[in-house]
Amino acid sequence: MRIRHPGALWRGAQAAALAAAVCIGGFGTSGEARAEYADVVINNYSDAAGMRPVIFPHWFHRIRFRCKVCHADLGFQFKAGGNEINMVKIIDGQFCGACHNGDIAWSVENCNLCHSGKPGTPTQVHESTIQKLAIQPQAGGQQ
């Protein structure tokens, strides 16, 4: 590896640590949760508002829409919790609200279908490489 600047060295060290973690720790189970790969928990505001966090199942949506529809046309960033979605925007027809309007998919009064996570579950992409390799924040002080 050609090292160009100190940042690269640090990144190299991180990589080595990660590679070691993959070899030693392996893709071990992280607690009891064994939800679907790519299920996204979004808990930007839910806990504070007394709602269950949202769980977005990628698998369910990718059977019905290609990635492009949400990630290019609707402007969803490739980052869990990175879109600052709130109910005002959804009711206004942005983000989830582009389809969840009672027209293409069921509408916002079905709170419990999206807000279905265990309270206190942090924002995450379930089963992601990062989640498996890094130490997770404790769920609402529990565990």
Binding site: A33, F60, F65, R66, S116, E127
Partner: protein
């Protein structure tokens, strides 16, 4: 009037009959079902690798004919070609496995909890407390890198992040209801999404509202030579443009210019470059050879000496 009354009466009679029949063996049936749901279900619900399906009387008939003891032995010791000893769950006691066999036999005979099936289970019931099942810590289980079949694709109420106390959770579709019809893979959702799309097993829309809109697929392979002994990477635009828009990757993640992108496995593991999707939603980095697929042109040793 008479007819209207007769139905509830019949239901009552049936219910009472069932209660009488199942009363003494109810706990045993429950045990059998619990073991079945935990272990056997992985193969015996869908009939994987020739496993006789639960409730499939035709498939079970010759096996039941061979005798319950033979069945017990096959279940506990395993049977060629595909039945592993105790279905792979060697920490489950013999008595529990027998209970599961009884449960499946009863289901095949047309009614879980038939006394006929329960009778041979009686000694097993006595033996059960003597051999309690001890859950083994995850670190000691066989190959902890692989999830056992019983822990793959659980329905939302059992997946650990959905709240089972929420009524909406129970209304959600379970992944396996769909995945069973799709080609499987070894990682991620355990579904080969690219093949599913290629074979028209799924028809995800390209446009939010227009079901007829189709993507402009670009068939261009980019080969990236890699250092070390790993095969070179072949990046196929084709499979990517079937799902994504150019703007999803270019220019933010990848500069569309040869040699302009520094990509490393370190960056990918950290969720950058290919790792923006691979390791989060597209197949994960454990599947090395799907990307690293082009054998290097290594000069044969003989030629090297000749020169």
């Amino acid at each position: 009037m008479n007819r209207i009354l007769r139905v509830p009466m019949a239901v009552l009679g049936l219910a009472a009959g069932t209660l009488l029949a199942t009363g003494p063996t109810f706990a045993q049936d429950e045990k059998g079902k619990a073991v079945y749901d935990k272990v056997c279900v992985a193969c015996h619900s869908a009939g994987i690798a020739g496993a006789p399906k639960l409730g499939d009387a035709k498939a079970w008939a010759p096996r039941i004919k061979a005798g319950i003891d033979t069945l017990y032995e096959s279940a506990i010791k395993g049977k060629a070609p595909a039945m592993p000893a105790k279905g792979g769950a060697t920490d489950v006691s013999d008595a529990d496995i027998k209970a599961a066999v009884d449960y499946m036999v009863a289901a095949a005979e047309g009614g879980a909890g038939e006394p006929a099936a329960a009778a041979p289970a009686a000694p097993a019931a006595q033996a059960a407390p003597a051999a309690p099942t001890k859950p083994r810590p995850a670190a000691l289980s066989f190959n902890r890198l692989l999830k056992p079949a019983s822990k793959r694709n659980p329905p939302p109420p059992e997946d650990g992040i959905h709240d089972p106390d929420n009524d909406g959770t129970h209304a959600l579709q379970a992944p396996l209801q769909v995945f069973e019809a799709l080609p499987r893979s070894n990682a991620g959702n355990r579904v080969d999404w690219v093949k599913s799309l290629d074979n028209n097993l799924i028809a995800p829309r390209w446009d939010r509202t227009d079901p007829a809109a189709a993507p402009v697929v670009m068939d261009l392979n980019i080969v990236r030579e890699v250092k070390g002994s790993m095969p070179d990477v072949v990046y196929p635009h084709k499979q990517h443009t079937a799902w994504l828009d150019c703007s999803n990757c270019h220019p933010q993640i990848f500069i569309p210019q040869k040699g302009a992108n520094q990509i490393s496995m370190a960056a990918i593991l950290l969720g950058q470059k290919c790792g923006v999707c691979h390791g989060k939603v597209a197949f994960p980095v454990s599947e090395c050879r799907i990307c690293h697929s082009k054998k290097k042109n290594v000069m044969p040793v003989k030629n090297a000496q000749a020169q």
